[in-house]
Symmetry: C2
């Protein structure tokens, strides 16, 4: 059994990106620039944005945080995005979610220019993915694909079961695994809260991707011997054994499932570290398209 | 066993649409107007467009065929579409495919305004479908959903297997059946040419949707007793028994499969008649959004 090391792979990728940025700058090309919009003062959002800014610094990107009051109107927020859309120095735009309740996330996200939609959240990006055009794939699915590739996990003709049908993980993951080429060409089953006989389906999976947000949901009896298990869940639960009184757990019962499978991502240290790197990759790509 | 009668349902729907158009006109509202672009003189394309025009006439839509030479340049064709995009009387625009080889279908389709993309072929339409926003669903999948609804076929928690991963049938069908609500909430498996153990998967299907384009591919031993079978295949093959020397067959061996299943669509007369009606529905919707 191999533990898929997201920390190692993400560090490799960041080193590769750093190298590519240096080459760009040496060639007299523009430094990639990511702009992040942060509305209000949510603690978790501050933390996420902080990680993204730090990662930008590491690989040599410029980053800008546009901090806006939680009182901002939807139209004012849209105007801010339009400014970033037309700003030639900005390559990628992300809006940290969630937004205050009086603002339509859909309307705000759809304002982002598809050329700068490095989170891959707009309808245009989702559509390009679905119909097989080149475009930005959202960070978590792109990170999972990267892990599968770097560990040379075969996918063609395999049965890939995706648990969860969210817009940011389950649905794009199903599209990516069923598309032509590698990683892809898998027979994909997408399951969700309404699915019946779930453990019968998961037991038939060669590759099981779990994105439900339910701690320790997948147990050993739900997994086939030799399966590849990708755990996207990240939930903070109380713990008597950790110093902080909390620990992070995934959707998969790692201890028992890891004994049966061929590959598994741990939580933390599996899929998690990959998401920011995918965002950086998309930003570099957005920048490269311009010059 | 019930034969799903696409001719009957499509006639009902056309009557309903005709009624809605009359109500619009009586209320002083605009007559829906579909524009179809036809490049070159392909016989099959002429036939398809002819059917669409006739259907428009029946329900009371205005229709315009823009006939263009097969020598037209990509840019000229794009200009023609831009004219239709800004023409306030035109509600829906379709481009009859295939286009001549020197023209990029992707670039041409992507020129169509999302508000007028009644074929649902643009990336924006595909993306809206994937992430659950309201938009135009392409005609064949929309027609299948309509049949499932009109025959009150349960879908929640059922296992729906889709054979084929085309942009216009397989992929949107998988999205529609797995989305929240009815028809939907199914556990969906998408299979294709690279899938292994195919008949094992099809045998587990409560609902089997076949869009491979391989005549008589699905045989009785591949189908579970009581399954719902939707046949999207339309292939013209030689026949000794028909007057013309040709007959139309589906991807499903109807004679043997129909004895095992609960519902089945025949070919012809099943899914086929529904596609044009779905196009008309989208056009009326596009028109209704404006006034």
């Amino acid at each position: 059994m191999t533990i898929i090391d997201g920390n190692k792979i993400s560090a490799q990728l960041k080193a590769e990106l750093k190298e590519q940025v240096e080459q760009r700058l040496n060639a007299g090309k523009k430094r990639p620039h990511l702009a992040a919009i942060l509305v209000g003062n949510d603690g978790a959002s501050e933390t996420y944005i902080g990680h993204k800014v730090k990662a930008c610094e590491f690989v040599g990107f410029k980053s800008t945080i546009v901090r806006l009051s939680s009182e901002i109107s939807e139209n004012q927020l849209i105007e801010e995005i339009q400014k970033l859309n037309t700003d030639k120095d900005i390559d990628g735009i992300i809006v940290q979610l969630p937004l205050p309740k009086h603002i339509s996330e859909e309307r705000v996200i759809e304002t982002i220019s598809p050329q700068k939609d490095v989170d891959g959240f707009t309808a245009v990006s989702a559509g390009k993915l679905l119909i097989g055009q080149k475009g930005f794939v959202s960070a978590t699915p792109a990170g999972i694909v990267e892990l599968i590739e770097r560990y040379h996990i075969p996918t063609a003709g395999k049965h890939c079961v995706v648990l969860g049908r969210s817009n940011i993980v389950g649905k794009p993951m199903a599209v990516l695994m069923s598309r032509k080429g590698y990683p892809g060409d898998a027979t994909v089953t997408i399951c969700h809260s309404k699915s019946e006989n779930l453990s019968e389906i998961t037991k038939s999976a060669d590759i099981l991707i779990v994105a439900l947000g339910i701690p320790n949901y997948v147990t050993a009896d739900m997994v086939k011997v030799g399966a590849v298990v990708i755990d996207v869940g990240i939930t903070r639960i109380k713990s008597d054994t950790s110093k902080t009184g909390w620990k992070i757990v995934g959707d998969v019962n790692f201890d028992e499932v890891s004994e049966k499978c061929s590959f598994i991502t741990p939580v933390p240290g599996g899929v998690g570290p990959m998401t920011i790197v995918s965002l950086l990759k998309n930003t570099l790509e957005a920048c490269s398209k311009k010059s």
